[in-house]
Structures are given as C-alpha cells and as structure tokens.
C-alpha cells in the first residue's frame, strides 16, 4: 500500500512541478544559472565518456548483427534491424539509465538532505516556493541532458552503423538512405522524441518526489534514496515497454 502512496505522491509532484514551470516567476536568473549548472554536470561532463561507451557498445552489437545476418543471407535486413534495435531502443534507454544512475541518485540524495536539514521549510517560511527555486530548474535540466546525450550518441551510432555495414566507401549511401527512410517514418520520429522527453522528465521528477519523502529522522534519507531509485528504474522500464508495445504489438 505504501508503494502505491509513493507513486501517488510522485504523480502529484509531477503535476505541481508542471504548474510551477508554467508560471513566469520560475524563469529568473538564479533558476537559469541552476539549470545550466545541472546540464553541465549531467550532460557536458559525461558527454565524451558516454559517447565513447555508446559507440563501442553499438559497434559490437551492430557488428554481431551484420555478420550473423550475412551468414544467414539476410544482409538486406541487418541495417534496418540494427537501427531499430540500437538507435531507437537501446541507446535511449541506456542514456536514461546512465543519467538516472549518475544525476538521479545525486538529485534524490540532495533533496532528501535538504528535507532532512529543514532547508525546504526555511525557504517556505521565507515565502520562497521551493518548486520554482529548486525543483523546476532541475527537472528542465535533467530533461535537456537526457535529450542532448541521446541525440549526440544516437548520431554517433548511426555513423558507426554505416561504417560497419559499408566501410569507408561512399557508395553505400543511397542504400543507407533508403533504410533510414524505411526506419525513420514521421510517426517513428515523433515517438522517439516523446520517449526522450518522457525519459528526461522521469529521471528528475521521481528522484525529487522521493527525496521529499525524507523526514527529520536521518534514517529516512537512505530509505527515500532507495525508494526513489527503484521507482525510477521501474518507470524507465515501463516507458520503454509501453513504447515497444505501441510500436510492435
């Protein structure tokens, strides 16, 4: 029953944060600076390492797919399969998981400590809305970070797919373009964008909502962090499952 209540609180927090994001007073120099710092930590710092990781992983997966497909005389489907599995599903999910693991954990701990220290109560007593001041910039920054990391790493993976399939030869370009046309239909692109945004929002909303569960009791902090991380993982998996079900079932 308690996990249901926790999910309910997370949902309520999401609505409140959305309402706060729509108010003009949320867009101040201070919140902008906070959001920029968050994007810097969540995306810029990890960009080279994460892109390299995504490139290596996708290179191995695409190489296996292409060589197996060639072995079974199905090479014409290899590129499409690689794009659908790696570019559209694997890399976005891995990006969201990575940001969740790195920034989500930091955010939930930070908010839990703030709740434990009574910083949030101080803000409220000073008549400052903690949603506008602390939460909305973090959510926006997390969504932007996930989106930026996903777009850049997917782009690199698309280039790697070409190199694995055709090598450095430019003559595979027209066939490659046809496969891109086949895979990236307008609906598919729209779904991809929606999924990226959903991943980004969830990566920030669920940890902050979980961090707010912490009380003055110091033992409540690790419980809040653990609950937040588990719910975040479940939410990411659920988004991916729903996305797959809509597309292929």
């Amino acid at each position: 029953m308690s996990w249901l209540r926790a999910w309910g609180r997370a949902l309520l927090f999401a609505f409140t944060a959305a309402a706060a994001a729509l108010s003009f007073s949320a867009y101040t120099a201070r919140t902008r600076s906070l959001a920029m710092r968050q994007v810097y930590f969540a995306a810029w710092q990890v960009l080279p390492g994460f892109t390299l990781f995504a490139a290596l992983l996708s290179w191995v997966v695409i190489q296996i797919t292409v060589s197996l497909a060639r072995e079974y005389n199905l090479a014409q489907f290899a590129l499409e399969l690689a794009m659908r599995v790696v570019v559209l599903e694997l890399v976005p999910l891995l990006t969201a998981l990575y940001v969740a693991l790195r920034s989500g954990a930091a955010i939930v701990t930070e908010v839990a400590v703030m709740a434990h220290n009574g910083e949030l109560d101080e803000l409220r007593s000073a008549n400052i809305d903690p949603y506008e001041r602390e939460f909305v910039p973090r959510i926006a920054a997390a969504a932007m970070s996930v989106f930026a990391l996903t777009v850049v790493s997917c782009f690199v993976v698309i280039l790697i797919a070409y190199l694995v399939m055709y090598g450095a030869s430019p003559w595979g370009f027209s066939e490659y373009t046809r496969t891109v046309a086949l895979v990236f239909s307008p609906g598919e692109l729209g779904g991809f964008l929606l999924k990226c945004v959903a991943f980004g929002v969830v990566v920030a909303v669920i940890p902050i909502a979980a961090g707010l569960d912490a009380t003055k009791d110091p033992r409540s902090v690790p419980v809040a962090v653990m609950g937040g991380m588990v719910r975040l993982f479940v939410a990411l998996a659920a988004i991916e499952l729903v996305n797959l079900a809509v597309k292929y079932v």
Partner: protein, 313 residues
Amino acid sequence: MDREEYTRVPKNLQFRVGLLLGLTIMVAAGFLIYALYARGVFEATQRLTLVADNAEGVSIGMDLTFSGFPIGRVQRIALGEDGRARIEVDIPRKDARWLRNSSIFTLERGIVGGARIRAFTANLQDDPLPDGAERIVLRGDTQEEIPRMVATLRSVLENVEQVTGPGGSLQASLDNLRGLTEQFGGKEDARKLGAVLDRANALLVSLGGLSRRMDGVVAKTDRRMFGADGVVDGTQRAVDQANVILGELRESLKRVDRILADAQSVSGNAKAATQDLAQLRAEVDASLRKVSGLIDEINRKWPFKRDSEIRLP
C-alpha cells in the same frame, strides 16, 4: 548551500552548455532534414498503381526494383471495389525513365523475407509510363509452388514405388530375365551355344570372301566407267558434238532474227499505206460533197428543165 565547494564550476559554463545545446539542436534538425530527404519529401514523384489478386507480404515502404535497384516505394495498400489489392507506388521522376508502357511488374514471395516487387522493361525506346498509370502485377510465389511441387513429387515417388515394389513390372522383368538365364544354365544348352557360335564364325568367313569379290567388281566398274574409251570418255565426246550442233543452231536462229526484222519493216510500210488510204477517202468524200453542191446549184439556176436527174459522167 555551499555545494559548489565539492563540484567546481568552470568560468565559461554558459558557453559550454550553449555549445552542447546548440550541437544537439543542430544534429537533431540535420537528421530530421536528412530523414525527410530520404523519404523523398523534396523530390518530384509520379504515381503507379499495381493491381494484385493478393497483396500478402507487401508492406508500406517496400521497394519497387528494376535490375536489382530500387526505383520506387510503396506508399499505400488498399482493397479496391473489385476485391483486388491496389498497391500504390511512388516513383521519383528521375527514375521513372526506366518504366515504359510495355513494362511488366511482378510480385514475388520467397521462403525467407518479405515480398519483392520487380519491374521489367524489354524495350526502353517505348513510350514512357504515364503518371497515375494502373497495371496488373504478376505473382510468383515460392510458398504456393512448394505444396504443388510436393504433390507432384509424391505421385512420381508412388509410380517409382509401384514399378520397383513386389509384383511391380520391374520385378516381373527381372524375374523373366532370371528365368531366361536359368534356361541357359544346362550343359546341353552350352553345347548348342557353341554350335551357334561356330556357325556364326563360318558365316563370317564366307562374308569375307563375298566382300573380296565385291572389291573386284568395284575395280572393274571403275575401269569401265573412268578408263580410256570408258563410259565417261564417250559421254565427253557426245557433249562436244552437242556443243557444235548448238553453235550451228545459234547461227540459224540469228538468220531467223534477221528475216523477222525484215517482216517487221514490211508490216510498218503496210501501216503507213493504210493511213494514206484514209486520207484519200476523205478527199474523195469532200469531192463528192462538192459535186453534190454543184448539182444543187445547177438545179436552182436551170429554170426550164424540171427534171432533177443528172447524169454523171
């Protein structure tokens, strides 16, 4: 809130974050434009509708290939009013030149993978395929062929089984053969076979003599035909004489030619003479008319004599 102590923030933070977001937007927009280009949004296309009995295996986005190269893409599949599948294919204008009025379209389904739509153009000088053309697509289906092939193969195997099985015709033939060889098995039969072989040998010896005699006959014929005063020689002489006679005949014919030419000139004179006769007759006619007129004049001028009779000299 002094968390900055643990996480150092660089001075050009704004620039770096701006660069990252700018790069992201550029890549996303660039890929979006590339995807639109790949889907042929910026390309003029023409429509071709293929009508098939069964569009199973056809999917939207499938290629229409010509000589193994994709030249068009399936945009829409619909069930027509007549219950047949209508496959609408968009063909870029620059690739449409491979399709002519006489082009043939086939829909093939292999064992593995989706269906394939292929175009064949025998005559590239034919009129180009018009926009919005509608063509029947021919089907070739491996999966439909296999059961038919298996059924045929089964009947063939049944026939083979009937032939080779116990009581089959092959078995009966082999039994007959075995009976025959068994009949040759006794010593009496072996002796008979020996006698047959001896007689065959004797026959071959006499045939050898016959062929020697035939050789002699051929040699004699050769002499008679091609030797001195042989048949061929006599024939040669006869041919020479015939040549001489033909030469004389040719001379005679030349003379006849000359006589005929004379006769022709004579007949030409006769023709001229007949033309003169016609002129003479016309002159006589004119003279007679003049005499008649003279008589009428005399009759008018001669008051006493009422007798109109005139005696011509």
